[in-house]
Amino acid sequence: MTTAAANGVNVDALLEAREVLKGAPEAAQFTWRASSRWQHGVHSEIKIHNYFGLGQEQSHLEESVFQADHPEVFAATDNGITPIEYLLVGLASCLSAGVASVAQNRGIQLRSVESVVEGNHDIRGILGADSDVRNGFNDIKVTFTIDADASREDIEALVAQSQKRSAVFDALTNPTDVTVEVA
């Protein structure tokens, strides 16, 4: 399934992996890991390097280090973005990767893909100011601006299919069982 589009996504490899993993569900089990170390105040440093997948330990080419803090309006030091903003980073990058992959698979050449992700958040929840207000986002809006060799309808279909296959979209829209323990 090769196409003329050059978006830089190796779709053949993805489709091959899909076929292989159909018959080997155990190899499809991945565990992603982040390690966090509290710094000071509400500032933490998070490192990501290793993960588990395809039946064995794997590692990224390089370790990535992230700073998470809170802004000055929260009376904090603002050494990095707010934890909840990392969710926006995840959603935007996941959907964009999806758009590129689906476009490649459908032979659509992309020229630019930009998105703005807005998460509406009532902070009375986390402050405990109103117990009826939830802690997390009330809603999230993603606005894509895409320049590509395709009709508006085809572009809308790219964006729809990208949501359909997005790990982060699923993680944000569906409940996930979360365990937090003290080691």
Binding site: E153, A160, D170, T173, N174, P175
Partner: protein, 415 residues
């Protein structure tokens, strides 16, 4: 070989619905001796396992079986279950199918160069077996049904006949395929507040450009798309049934029609936790996916009409309004508060192969087959979704499938 004396037939057909009877029609045509075993009566599932108001989704003129077509006064109408039953009974008579009713098959297992079929009335040895026992033997209910608090009564389409069986109060219908939208509409009409949980679905208008949408499927060749030509057969076979209803008014029953009657739309039911139903926040995207897909299909029809030079015969091409997103869609519902008194699981059906003692069923409970040729010599299937064509599970879809599958079977018998 076991020593028990058994009756012998060249072929045993399991099930006397339209699929099993069509198999019988083509077996008779080839003078292959056979018997059709039916646990209940002819067309049993249509008689006993459907709700009262159900009508066929396909218009009457499309209801055709080998050697039998609709000859009534309302070719554009949709058959009630009673009419479907009568139609299939007539087919059984016309083709003089050797049906034995009230015979329950309890086991089919390999035996020598054929199969041993055990029934509650004895044993039959056969060279080949045609599985025509249906694709919808059991309602498919998700495991999370077990977490629903006892205050909400639970129903499946098998034990639902009409709204009067439901307790008074709010009803949550889970699933928005043909079953879910039909039941949601009917329950809403009974005056009950209805919440409909919507995952991926197939939206279709009842009529387009003045013709039934299934007329277009037929004319434009969509029905005849073959299983071995589809990009993703697994997906095509799992596709939810389209949001259609057969009514004398030919009305469209999409989500816009439902929300106009006051049905609340929520996302796919993702979990039940502490007595709360949690729904996906991805409702907008399942709407987009369905709208885009419907528009692509309508585009296919338009293209066909133009290419065939028949544009003048129909109303001008048009598009339907997008599915309206509810202003505020709930992502949780307290199932213990008394707001929801009943849950109807319109979450699909699955076949039951509990009696099939041949290792040809996959981990998901589906038969492993290639266009009805099951993964073991002499074993065949008919009447499953996209068995050989998109139309396979529809009544008019059985003729081509049965002819080809029985053709293969005849070749097998000749070695």
């Amino acid at each position: 070989m076991t020593g028990t004396a058994a009756e012998r037939f060249t072929v045993v057909v399991v099930g006397a619905g339209h699929a099993g009877l069509a198999a019988s029609y083509f077996l008779s045509q080839r003078s292959i001796d056979h018997v059709v075993l039916e646990r209940g009566e002819v067309a049993n599932s249509w008689r006993r396992e459907r709700w009262d108001s159900l009508r066929l989704l396909t218009p009457n003129w499309q209801s055709r079986l080998p050697g039998l077509r609709y000859e009534g006064a309302d070719p554009d109408g949709y058959m009630t279950m009673r009419e479907v039953t009568e139609f299939i009974e007539r087919f059984a008579k016309v083709c003089a199918a050797p049906v034995r009713t009230g015979v329950n098959v309890t086991s089919v297992r390999p035996d020598g160069d054929g199969y041993r079929v055990t029934t509650d009335q004895g044993e039959i040895a056969a060279r080949a077996v045609v599985i025509a026992s249906g694709a919808c033997n059991r309602p498919s209910v998700p495991a999370l049904a077990g977490l629903v608090p006892s205050g909400a009564a639970q129903f499946t389409p098998f034990d639902y006949r009409d709204p009067s069986a439901l307790p008074d109060g709010g009803v949550l219908v889970v699933g928005a395929s043909a079953t879910g939208v039909q039941l949601a509409a009917e329950i809403r009409r009974s005056g009950r507040p209805v919440t409909l949980s919507v995952g991926e679905h197939t939206r279709l208008p009842r009529t387009y450009r003045g013709r039934d949408v299934l007329w277009w499927m037929d004319a434009a060749g969509v029905w005849d798309q073959r299983y071995d030509e589809l990009d993703d057969l697994t997906r095509a076979r799992r596709l939810p049934s389209p949001q259609l209803v057969g009514t004398p008014e030919h009305s469209t029953l999409d989500l816009n029609a439902l929300s106009a009657t006051g049905v609340d739309l929520v996302g796919r039911l993702a979990a039940v936790r502490d007595g709360q139903a949690l729904f996906s926040g991805g409702l907008r995207n399942v709407f987009s996916l369905a709208d885009l897909k419907m528009n692509r299909l309508l585009g296919t029809f338009d293209e066909w009409a133009t290419t065939a030079g028949r544009d003048d015969e129909f109303d001008a091409p048009s598009r339907f309004p997008s599915t309206r997103v509810p202003e505020k869609s709930r992502t949780r519902l307290d199932l213990g508060s008394g707001e929801i008194r009943a849950i109807v699981w319109a979450t699909g059906f699955r076949p039951d192969y509990g009696w099939l003692d041949v290792p040809v069923v996959d981990g998901k409970g589906q038969l492993r087959h290639d266009g009805g040729v099951v993964d073991r010599p002499g074993l065949y299937a008919l009447g499953l979704p996209v068995l050989r064509r998109r139309k396979s599970t529809f009544i008019h879809g059985i003729e081509d499938d049965a002819r080809e599958v029985i053709g293969h079977l005849a070749g097998f018998l000749q070695g």
